[in-house]
Amino acid sequence: MSAGDNQRAQPDHSGATATKADELPAVTALRGMSVFSADQAGAYREHFAELAAALGDDVETSLGAYLSRWAAEGTRGAVVLTGNAGTGKTAAAEAYARAAGAALPADDALVEIAPGRSVLKDLSGLPTHARASTLGRALEASDGQFLVCANEGVLRDALEELGNVTAAATLDEALRRGAARHDDITVVNVNRQRPTGDRLWMQLLDYLTREELWTGCEGCPYGDGGCSMRSNAEQMRRTDVREQMRTLFRLGTGEAVPTLREVLAILSWAIVGRSSCEQVRGKFRDTGLHDATAVDGYFTRVLGGGMSGEAAERSPLLSGIRRAGLGEVSDLEVDGWLRDTNGAPDTVRLVAGDPTAQAQPTSASTSGRLAGSQSPLDRVRTKQGEMTFHALGEMVSTDEDPTRVEDGLEALVSGDGVDNAAVQSLWRQRVFFEAADSLGGSAAAARRLLRFRYVGDLTELAAKTARGRDTVIELNELVRGLNFLVTGFASPNEGLVVPDPACLFARDPGAFRPARPSLVHSLVPLSKLSLHVPDVGLVESLLDVDHVDVELVADHDEDLALRVRPRMYEAIREAAEFGGPVGQGVAEMNDLRGFYGRLAVHLAGDSTDPDGDDALRVADPESHPPALVKITLPHFVEFR
């Protein structure tokens, strides 16, 4: 089928569709946005026009809005956008050009797109010898506006060659703080843009799932419960589902800086995967409801379901999301609901496809084991045929035929042997997204079903810190956890215990062997510690930011900061709460050694006098309550 056939009818973006298409344009567009298969043309800006025809105008980022305002105001100066491919630099430049009443130039050159407004859309597109001089023209002009997009390495080289100290210093500051401005030069590090920011996250999901895009193709089996793509889009319009998904993406972004391209690719994969409308219709025609099941659900695809582990590894963001272990972490109550939905809350019974939980039967409801099914998202495949989560639970728990029970159990824990998605994993995933309230809310759902039990607490702490609220209690907990991690001594009463840097090597916080006493290098009182979020100041007004991690800073010195990302926070909180071995690896300990090493050097002057034999202290994990114990060395008369 040709593209022309596919686009027999285009949506008019007002919600109405003149005639039904063989394939929804949104499906074609989303398939092209994936970076996980060979067809990924839609993921690149050069092909955005085709996407825009299907999905409508770009989402408006804060950066795009700022540049549009700047273009309209006409204030003189230069703005340099630096960041990696896929972060949205070109899209922001397009927004600027649009606001200036022009189009983004096709060439990589400094082009005056409108009077007094020039754009260089990619510095690395220029020949090496021309980069510094062109950049110089933009940065040192006495009049007009100049917008330059450049990767960091190329930009740094060009600035070095140019010898522009102010610009180089601005770049350094921007790389540290996200954005910086000196005189007329503003440098924005677009890598610090967070797609999970309040406004941008909703916009991104609307961009892909809004109702007007998902009106259905010709002969769409959605109404009969046979289209997983529209069911996915429908669920992803729910606020609670979006919030849960945001938690996962926040976890992923805590491990790698996400690009918009990657976020869109993962979301697109979650909705359509490799499917096409024709395939979905064909399957429904041939097998009815039997070939559309939960393995095509967004709740498993957003974790890389349906793709090989190797393909998933291509995306650092997706790898980070997968590390959350959603589906692998068991919860007695959630797993129990699958085996017997009778005592479960109504929301859970609905999710399970329990026919008795529905106010009125839908058109998709049929008899037998598919009774109560609303969409492919509540159906699973077993050797006994397709059935709802509810029916599988009934079969496993009450059926008297041992073969059926065995087949049910096999589907439950190992999958159906075809796509190997274990039903209990699919169930946990779906409950996490669609029945979080039944688990006690979003934070509780994360605590119960993710490997990162404290991710909710971390984002809450980051938000509090960003708002400048009181974080003394949380700081206390952090110090308690850190003290345990590095010394095995779980008390914040003495402040942050800085062990002798040598003793840090004696600690393995993952080991079951009890910690040995550590010699204390110095103590940092709680009053000298503070929490910060990395993205503050100018960057907040220029970029969409989302506070997902915090920095523990000693003595208000940026060099004495420990970045607490989700994994580190997990280790710290586990240590504080359980006072036992923590689940994180040696890599975090390496990071801690660096932090404490810098602290020890900084505090060398305040430390115990190394030659004062009577001033040694150890943090003794065995003392109850935890205490610092003073060691007095023997006194000898000079023996010579």
Partner: protein
């Protein structure tokens, strides 16, 4: 202090075909399967510290690294190293050194001390776990974090004796040679890095720490000048190990060691113990790389086969082709070392036969070795004696192969190489499934060693580790190797991504989403 002139007797003619002699002939160093990173590092640092962190003006003035610290180690290791020392008094008029050592070993309070047992537990936490094999506390070492925590291997004089003396147990002189390479490199253009490294090592080893106070106080109580409280005389092989540092065959090792040690010790953002821990890794790594490179050279290994593939990630072995190739890479490295040993042994046999006209072949092997058994008509010495004087090289190689198969020549080659790499976390797996890998500590050392050029992108970093140590991590660095035809690029790129992730988790790199990872922001020298 060691005694000076006239202390050494003329060396007797050593057998020329022992494993040690062949390893020395091949590598110009004497690796051993008992000498791991901790021993190599301790011996290097002891040599530097004992000689005031500089090369003696006259090589004959070299001071032995054999430092006892029996009081401190009695406390730290819970073993009385002063047992049997009943002469003199330690600290108190009524306490012999042996009694003093016994009290320290059990952490009992002495002369107004308090909580000495806590200090003992703190010190026990610092024992280098890599040295705690076997039941010989005399060979246990503390991590090399301060000058006052260093000591030399010790052993009881006999199984029935209570007297401990310092002697070669696992330290074999390799550390003395490495100390020479750093303190007095034979090449003018390596001197700057070498001297900078030694100065920074001195700073790090003498940094103020409460641990030094413990050591000083306890050692001060021992009577001065006793044999167990002063370094013994320098031995011939120690002098030879120092002199070996000027051998031209160690030229490449000299350059790389000075460069890497200076990189590690001059990096910013790391504490003194962290730098010294990385130095321990680099000393062993550069030593091991010298071994394998020498073997490649000796066997004429093609350039495309001269690499060590590092595998990262926890995928099941059966599903991980990079892991399987890393195992193969490890096996190939060992095979080349074995081949190099055979070639060297055959060459030496031929030389002894055709040039030195040796006829007593039994005397050329280790005493008691079956290779030199004159009564066995199939023994290697008998086979050698049957060879015609004008035999071809292949004949000597045949006999050498038999010798290598029936005696422990791998001890000073492949096995020495293995234990060095195992003790720095560069080899994972066991038995036939061993493979090259790198943990956070090793990656930190690699980043530190390249600190002069940091920060750099992960791509540049992988290119640099390929150049410096022969490690292949990503597709680009495998392009000029046999791996290009054996592994698909995607597998190697995934491998690189896993390495980047590990570095990011360990705070060594910052991962960016477009697959760019910047390595070593913190390790970069502050002057940059």
């Amino acid at each position: 202090m060691s005694s000076r002139g006239g202390r050494r007797t003329a060396p007797k003619k050593a057998p020329a075909l022992t494993p040690g002699a062949i390893a020395e002939a091949l590598f110009c160093l004497d690796p051993d399967r008992d000498e791991r990173a901790p021993q190599l590092c301790a011996e290097t640092l002891l040599t530097l510290a004992q000689n005031g962190y500089q090369a003696p003006t006259d090589p004959a003035d070299l001071i032995s690294p054999k430092l006892q610290r029996f009081a401190l180690r009695s406390l730290a290791l819970g073993e009385n190293f002063l047992g049997g020392r009943n002469d003199g008094r330690a600290g108190e008029d009524d306490t012999t050194p042996a009694q003093y050592g016994a009290m320290l070993a059990v952490g009992r309070e002495i002369r107004g001390s308090a909580n000495l047992s806590k200090a003992q537990l703190a010190l026990q936490g610092l024992v280098d776990p890599d040295t705690q094999r076997g039941q010989q506390p005399g060979a246990w070492l503390l991590r090399p974090f301060h000058e006052s925590l260093l000591w030399y291997d010790a052993r009881r004089e006999s199984t029935t004796s209570r007297l401990y003396t310092v002697r070669k147990v696992y330290m074999r002189g390799g550390g003395i040679t490495l100390a020479r390479l750093l303190a007095d490199p034979a090449y003018e253009d390596a001197r700057h890095d070498g001297h900078a490294a030694v100065a920074a090592i001195q700073d790090a080893l003498t940094t103020a720490t409460p641990l030094a106070g413990i050591s000083r106080t306890l050692e001060r109580a021992l009577p001065a000048g006793e044999t167990y409280n002063r370094p013994p005389r320098l031995e011939d092989d120690e002098q030879a190990a120092w002199d070996r540092g000027a051998d031209p065959r160690l030229k490449d090792l000299t350059y790389s060691l000075c460069r890497h040690a200076a990189g590690v010790m001059q990096q910013s953002g790391a504490s003194a113990p962290a730098k010294l821990w990385q130095l321990r890794t680099i000393l062993a790594l550069d030593f091991a790389c010298h071994l394998v490179r020498t073997a490649w050279q000796a066997t004429g290994t093609p350039d495309r086969d001269q690499f060590l593939l590092l595998s990262f990630g926890g995928a099941p072995r059966a599903l991980d082709p990079v892991r399987q190739r890393a195992e193969h890479s490890y096996r190939r490295a060992r095979i080349q070392m074995g081949k190099a040993t055979v070639t060297t042994l055959a060459g030496r046999m031929r030389h002894l036969h055709q040039v030195d006209h040796v006829s007593d072949w039994g005397g050329q092997f280790q005493t008691g070795s079956p290779l030199g058994n004159a009564k066995d008509s199939d023994s290697v010495s008998r086979q050698l004696s049957r060879l015609a004087i004008n035999s071809r090289t292949e004949e000597y190689e045949r006999v050498a192969r038999i010798a290598v198969e029936s005696a422990n020549y791998s001890r000073g080659a492949e096995d020495g190489f293995r234990v060095l790499l195992e003790s720095v976390g560069a080899v994972g797996g066991t038995g036939a499934y061993r493979y090259f890998t790198a943990g956070p500590d090793l990656l930190a050392a690699l980043v530190g060693a390249l600190s002069a050029r940091m920060p750099m992108s992960s791509r540049d970093f992988f290119a640099a580790v390929r150049r410096e140590w022969g490690f292949v991590v990503n597709q680009e660095s495998a392009a000029d190797t046999a791996l290009a035809a054996q592994l698909d690029g995607a597998g190697l790129e995934r491998n690189a991504r896993r390495a980047e992730k590990l570095m990011s988790d360990a705070g060594l790199a910052i991962g960016l989403s477009d697959r760019t990872t910047m390595v070593g922001e913190r390790a970069a020298r502050s002057s940059r």
